[in-house]
Amino acid sequence: ADKVSIVYIPKNTGNPYFDSLVKGFQDGCAKVGCDFDMQAPATAEATSQIPFITAQTQRGVGVIAISPNSPDALNQVLDRARSRGILVLAVNGDLVGNLDHRDAGILPVDFTKTGPSQVELLGSQINYEGEIAILSATTDAPDQNTWIAAMKDSLASNPKYAKMKLVAVAYGDDDPQKSTTEMEALIQKYPNLKGVISPTTVGVAAAAQVLQTQGKAKQITLTGLGTPNQMRPFIKDGTLKAFQLWSPYNEGLLTSYFAVGVKNGTIKNEPGTKFEVPGLGEITIGADHIINTQAELTTFDAGNIDQFNF
């Protein structure tokens, strides 16, 4: 049979996060033998991916992997693609609320773990006490909201965190300028602030820049989700000690293995199915066809950050 062809459509072009995800795809395809291509829209606005999906459908590719810009605006084009026999995979973010419009969702970690894990990472650095705040992306960002809910849950239910007090959740809209102002406002409003969690790459970078600029790193502990390349200078100069993420590379790698397997019939796309991905070990398809690339978040700190380049 022909080689399986995979097209990956990230949120937008020029976003460094997706570069390493693409690298994973490329390496995966080199190993399992598939054709890979990446097509990105210029902006991450709700409709910008639609023409790309249609064009790839027209090209008759085997697999469309997409990091959706909107959880519901893509339903119809994706259905059209699937009706042509194309395997549609949501990668890195899911079609929350519209899961039946894709064949499977490949997410980096079990998102229920993100929140507690971030709280623990911060708590361990501030002796589990003091005022803390969250600097998120947009008010309606679905992933971040899931995580924030879980953070609140942990803080409330786990006695270990009894002395940590969440004083504010701010939203930087994933915009550097806005995130900067919001972070500055947090520091201004809460003079006793001990720690900040920013579970978004733009936010955590902006927050680190603010701490560095204001020389407040000693007073306020920052953690969050960031990419090593973006955070490297701040780890090196001690602005923050540790942050977390997962491996976008592995998402690409796993997706290519899974896609080819499903296409060739060697993997049955059913919850409970297990399959092997070299380097990632045994992977299980979870409920709602959600597949996680790793069990726990990766924590980056001065000790390991130089092993990563993305």
Binding site: T13, Q39, A40, A46, F52, T54, A55, S70
Partner: protein, 332 residues
């Protein structure tokens, strides 16, 4: 009147009109048509997947909303004004539609609210431009920002969806194999071509754009016509906002972001003169297809979007310069 002997004819009386072939062929729309043919051929060469009518028509639905607005914008620009706010108007009216619907009111009410809001927004532009006599360019840059901001205030950044099944997916309904939005575009083109080309209203739009002062002196109700055009822009934008809501089955404040540039691009590409007085619906119609062909052709040929942006920007500048040059040449 009685006959008087012929008197000396001044040299200017002998001026000959331009040869017919120049009048017919050296026109901006012709340039667009040639570009369209060239783009089509190139697109076919670039990708074997391109030359499929269903695919082109389906792709056309993504541009149909902007194209429909560009038709009305053509009239506005011919009349010597400009409106940069329609994309934001689309977003605001669509978000209003979503909010009203979400509030539990019947969907008919939501549609009515969005159309009414479109009229109000068009009227606001019109009042600022025609009664406060502010330049339409700056006014609509202001409302471009404000309407988009209000959409954000209204809907936050979450998408509003879960519309009833009959409302969504208008782009998948076809008539004679043509998706409804494209059909709407074609019908609107025919209707507006008729209005602009064959009715007295269209004639007066050209006259206003050619010389607003002369038009006023000829007893043409300039303000009334321009106000009607701004209203039409608002209403059409609201309508296209609804088309987009149906196509996407959801609305969000960032709907149609940057669409104003594309609409102006279409109108300019179609050979409408930025200073008013000239232009045709046919030109805008052809330019819409040109844009569809270029964008679709490049996308299906897997040409990175970076090239696409560059090509669009260049096309806009080159088309204004060319249009300007052709008009300057044909005019003495």
């Amino acid at each position: 009147m009685s006959h008087t002997p012929a008197t000396a004819v001044s040299p200017q009386d002998a001026a000959k009109p331009l040869p017919l072939w120049r009048v017919v062929l050296v026109r901006p729309e012709m340039m667009t048509l040639v570009l369209l043919a060239a783009a089509f051929v190139i697109a076919c060469l670039l990708s074997p997947f391109f030359a499929s009518l269903t695919f082109i028509l389906e792709s056309a639905t993504y541009y149909a909303e902007f194209s429909i607005i560009a038709l009305v914008l053509t009239l506005v620009i011919i009349a010597g004004e400009i409106d940069l706010s329609p994309a934001s108007t689309m977003a605001l009216t669509a978000c209003l539609f979503g909010t009203v619907f979400q509030a539990g009111l019947p969907i008919g009410w939501a549609i009515a609210a969005s159309l009414a809001a479109g009229l109000v927004m068009g009227a606001f532009n019109g009042v600022m431009v025609l009664w406060l006599r502010l330049p339409s360019l700056m006014v609509t840059i202001g409302t471009l920002i404000m309407y988009r901001g209000l959409a954000q205030v209204l809907a936050g950044d979450k998408s509003i969806g879960k519309f009833p099944a009959w409302f969504v997916g208008i782009d998948y309904r076809t008539l004679l194999g043509v998706p409804v939005p494209v059909l709407v575009f074609v019908i609107a083109s025919l209707a507006l071509a008729f209005v602009l080309g064959a009715t007295i209203l269209g004639r007066q739009i050209y006259q206003i754009g050619t010389s607003e002062i002369a038009a006023r002196h000829a007893g043409i109700k300039v303000r009334r016509i321009k106000f009607a055009l701004f209203l039409a822009m608002g209403l059409t934008s609201a309508l296209c906002g609804l088309l987009a809501a149906s196509r996407l089955a959801s609305v969000r404040y960032d709907l149609a972001t940057g669409g104003e540039l594309q609409m102006v691009l279409i109108v300019m590409l179609g050979g409408t003169y930025i200073f008013g007085g000239r232009g045709t619906i046919a030109g805008t119609f052809i330019a819409s297809w040109l844009l569809v062909i270029i964008a679709t052709g490049m996308t299906v040929a897997n040409i990175p979007v970076t090239y696409q942006l560059t090509v669009m920007g260049l096309l806009l500048i080159v088309s204004i310069i060319a249009t300007n040059a052709i008009y300057a040449r044909n005019q003495r």
